[in-house]
Symmetry: C2
DNA sequence: TGCTAGTTCGCACGAGTTGCAGTTACGCAG
DNA sequence: CTGCGTAACTGCAACTCGTGCGAACTAGCA
């Protein structure tokens, strides 16, 4: 997603207004690598701007997603997450702690897919399931501390 | 997912009981390629067994998923879908009609992924977005019928 | 400064799913 | 076949996530 200043312009150009609430959310989202949920953003935003409405957070997130500035991620476990990174990338989700982070896949076009059967693919979303480094390490530890 | 007869055995072995409701659901799911939702299964089941509860459908689906006999799919648009095909495969979803079908991807191991950063991948879920054959055809038609 | 359309907010609603409690019935032992 | 214990079924209420709606507000422009 673009920097707050560019978003300001982009919104105005579309006849959308630039409210303090939106500007706050722009700032909270820019360079945000945490894949936050609407609730999480609302919590952070509430601290900086008491009284902001959860409704407004959803509204703004939907607007940004519609403008292609935000990717919406519906994954297993919980609510929709929002990803300001709209560069071609994919995700790795930890089965244990649920943490999500970005990964980049090369040569995706080389994939050989059988069964499209007339389907015309336009996007490819890959989600790797597994264990993040931290969880994997602690799992190993638990294993060696197993009760006799 | 295994055939109803094998599931019967598998359930008994786990101390789970074999009720008519479950047997019905086993039959409805076996070889079901439609990726049904819980509601859809409930609707079909209700015709064959009036009085069956939606709660029971959810319960059984969760049990089967926990046993690894069913894959739960949380995709964009609506509710969780259930896939009795647990053989290594992936999905193609039509952006227009929402239809979902199975595809098979070869040489997945050859994928070059950057950014795992300690993450230990165990599963790979790929969802292709695009248009199914039917929708693509009708979209083409609309295009050629464009108003002048 | 004043107008107006887009925004915000709060509430209520809706879809999807789960928790709970009372009743039912599967599966095993006698 | 009968009786028992426990798992399962059902119906309802509750819960989560997200959206529709209307009144009040305000950004942006003339």
């Amino acid at each position: 997603m673009q920097a707050p200043a560019e978003l300001t312009t982009a919104f105005r150009q579309r006849g959308l207004k630039l409210t303090p609430q939106r500007q706050l959310l722009f700032r909270l989202l820019h360079d945000n690598m945490t894949h936050p949920t609407a609730e999480a953003l609302f919590a952070t935003a509430s601290e900086l701007m008491p009284g902001i409405s959860l409704r407004t957070v959803y509204q703004t997130l939907n607007d940004l997603a519609a403008m292609g500035e935000l990717q919406m991620l519906r994954l297993s476990g919980g609510s929709t997450r929002f990803d300001p990174n709209v560069i071609d990338h994919h995700h790795a989700q930890c089965d244990r702690c649920g943490e999500l982070h970005d990964v980049y896949v090369d040569h995706l076009d080389d994939l050989q897919v059988r069964g499209f059967d007339g389907f015309v693919p336009q996007r490819t979303d890959i989600v790797f399931g597994g264990m993040c480094g931290a969880c994997h390490a602690s799992a190993e530890t638990n294993q060696s501390h197993r009760p006799t």
